[in-house]
Symmetry: D2
Subunit: 292 residues, 4 copies
């Protein structure tokens, strides 16, 4: 298939490589050119603008860091929307707000273009290793058209709803599940340490108890305080927590855990942790208990 | 080894069977006699009091539902403490307060008896299947003496500290980790449902993401609202949350997540859920968002 | 002075009457005409659009329910911004976001118009009785120009900062102080009632203890469950809580109390309380404890 | 009347002086003798034990810092209970747990002695100036007997219930109302300061808005960071918060605000604030936002 891809950060680069491996032709664009060049070596062709990346594509995919960047890339000068042909499809892999997904749906529709939300679960390593979980939502016929691409970048594709924004709400809830686990580790480790016990031993017990690679990954990072380089920056974790609270607010659902997480991310940022990995939220619990 | 065992609920019965399978002689006591009879068929001998269960034992183990029951069984008339010989060891498998563990240590010590805390992780099925994780703390020499028994009842034995109460604090932190996961599912399912999505599908995605039997077990129970019969009653979940907040309070560690969990357990109890499984705390999030 | 006033709800009408009493000429506009007619009887002149209300004014004041309404009235067709002369001043009395205040400042400035934020504290009765507290921020020279008007509508005018948005942040913090008091009453009344005591008696003791008209007002309303007609609707209370969390988020300040209030307002809305007075948030605490 | 008084801290001393002023004969006891000597100069007679202070009293009153001290003084060697005559009445002014009040009621009853809980609202200055609010509960006939004493020490006596423990639950709820106000100030001041505004000005506006001496007192102390000497020590504030959570837990009432307060008191203690005034909880919000 002819595919455009815009946004070549840690996640996007891995995804593009898997699209290439599956035999697709991929035209890429990235604001800073160096990041694009790595995937060009792997076979992608480089475009000069999002519009150009979209111009000959049946499907153009985007992976940007937030709502603002997505709006710029899609609706800005030489943006994806202006370049994409009628009946071609924009698939957004970014973790963006439900509200923006609603707008993307509407504006692409007005231009005769298709739109799907297909955010992904997994860290950069998983993107590289084709181990992402892809949560897609939107019109069923469009989903079937792009399914080969989604199957090419992840280990599992799940259809989450018939309206695109639903996939975004689901993705935000999934990130909340992870953030909540991380905060939980932070609180427990603090009690363990202040009780004179070895928190590595506690991590070992929890690892045995939960038997989950996600617990192993995050629990291990927190236990060893390995917060750099950030797999997912804390300021992005705050962004996602704001978005899940917003999405929950729209359907009148209280989320007391998400509120605690938001407060702790803010405290982390007030203490200079915005560029550390988001699991460094654990430092907030430690600090609040006077550790270190 | 000659072992006494007091407390034959869902957990204790499974443990006793594994002690018997490992070739130990086990004398058991339970307040209500019927429960004791099942394990008698499996080869245990029945005693008329905790003291009698302890009388000839090198090691007497107890598995009671809370601090109050433990105090009655150990220090009450014909209690374990009055029956146990000098140099014999009391191993408490119960989830009790750190404070009571300190008292047990002290009082057994004064009588020339040994004491260890060895609470366990796992539900009744895990007790039956010798899949518990045993977290033991106390004097190292005593631990080595009872290790064959601990290895006989679980899949892994972890030494958590040199003071008995530390194992109790750790067990409470572990239960908090589980309660926190359950509350997280409750909040996320609520947003998913109110957003018009299928929460079974969300559970499937999370199951894939976390790949943990604990998530599969609890997430599945919540998704299908299977809260009876209770593997672990909600009122006991509240008890443990109170105890972890107390243990954290003693070392001046805030636990905002545990506070939310406590509030939600109280709300559940105010709504008649005390005998449902503790994962029915998820109903509180649903109710607070006006579901059902 | 020649004054324009846009927005004649419960608050605006009282304010306009006080502007008239102080001898000002007031041209008013309100979307629904009936509300405007009451103040016309008191001497105001009626305009056909916000622009017309602003056209001959030295100062145009606005009191709208939220950001959206303010944006429509100011920047929409025949809006305030298009009608206001150069060097005339727009004074916003509304409780709006700091972010919108920043935008108002910027856009009026570009048109050569002045802008001040001057939100007010007080319920409709206080507006009528000239008992508002006016919190104004912006350029000092402009404040001195409009001070006679501010003094005419309230019992006290406080200059809160040199940047207009600061008054909005302060107003949101003040509303948070009140919301927090209301939530506190809700939690305490619930414990009192469930302990078999008379919550009117508790209210009497607190009234004596705090000696505050605000406690008397809100505590009395909650004790007697008088939630209609709403002096300030609960959905507006939620709006303000979202805005204070947003304002606090921008300066990286956690607000755990505001988070609890947000969650309880959402639960209230999920239970159909959006048009009740915001102090009906107390029903959430009662419901969570199984009362009624 | 012949009155015994045990506990001559800042509160007890002021109360005793008012009992003396009202013409009562007062025999006092305090663990550290110096504090007792001040009131001896004012006309009180000094006893050598709590029992002796109670021996000839129609009414013995106690004002101790917590449950533990109260238990020691009442049930310890030469305690109040052993000295008090049949039909004489013990009136507890202390802020103690509902649970201890239940026990005091029961044990005095068994000895043929009367018992009332009569905790008081007000700081040391209010005790001195006879401005306390006295919340009494218990048997109506006993209350009428001691009413002249209660009226002698405060500005208002309120009968809160027919069971003694109810007055204690009510007092804890009242202290929660104050703690909640203090936490609210802490969060708001932090946002104000981080927004570049003067928090003294914000305090002035709130003072005007609420018009309450309690707000003036605490808000002023927080604004000027005057936390020493402590009118009421932070560790006692934590104690009361624990007790109100316990009392609320017994009637299955969630108290999310009290939970936040508990967490912040713990954080304060972890940072060495246990002997500062309890309103120094405001430092926690400031610290969590990176101030200072």
């Amino acid at each position: 298939m002819n595919v455009g891809y815009v946004g070549l950060g840690k996640m996007g680069s891995g995804i593009v490589r898997n699209l290439l491996r599956a035999g697709n032709k991929v035209v890429v664009y990235n604001r800073s050119r160096e990041k694009a060049e790595a995937v060009v070596k792997d076979g992608a062709r480089l475009a000069d603008s999002p519009a150009e990346a979209a111009a000959n594509a049946e499907v153009v995919m985007t992976m940007l860091s937030d709502d603002y960047a997505t709006e710029q890339v899609v609706f800005g000068d030489n943006g994806v929307a202006s370049g994409l042909k009628q009946d071609s499809i924009h698939v957004s892999n970014s973790t963006i707000s439900s509200a923006l997904a609603v707008r993307l749906m509407k504006e692409h529709h007005q231009r005769g273009q298709g739109y799907l939300s297909a955010p992904v679960f997994g860290r950069p390593e998983a993107a590289e290793a084709k181990k992402l979980i892809v949560a897609v939502a939107g019109e069923r016929a469009l989903i079937e058209q792009v399914r080969p691409l989604l199957d090419a970048i992840g280990r599992k594709t799940v259809v989450t709803g018939s309206e695109a924004w639903q996939a975004n709400a689901l993705k935000l809830c999934g990130n909340f599940m992870i953030a909540s686990m991380v905060e939980t580790f932070g609180e427990a480790f603090t009690v363990i340490r202040k009780s004179g016990m070895n928190h590595h031993m506690f991590f070992e017990v929890m690892n045995e108890l939960f038997g989950s690679p996600v617990y192993a990954n995050y629990g291990g990072a927190i236990a060893t305080e390995k917060y750099e380089p950030a797999g997912f920056a804390l300021r992005l974790g705050l962004k996602d927590t704001r978005l899940v609270l917003e999405a929950a607010g729209e359907v009148a659902a209280p989320m007391p855990f998400a509120s605690v997480i938001r407060d702790h991310f803010l405290s982390a940022i007030a203490n200079g942790q915005e560029d550390l990995d988001w699991c460094s939220i654990a430092k907030v619990s430690a600090r609040n208990a006077g550790l270190k």
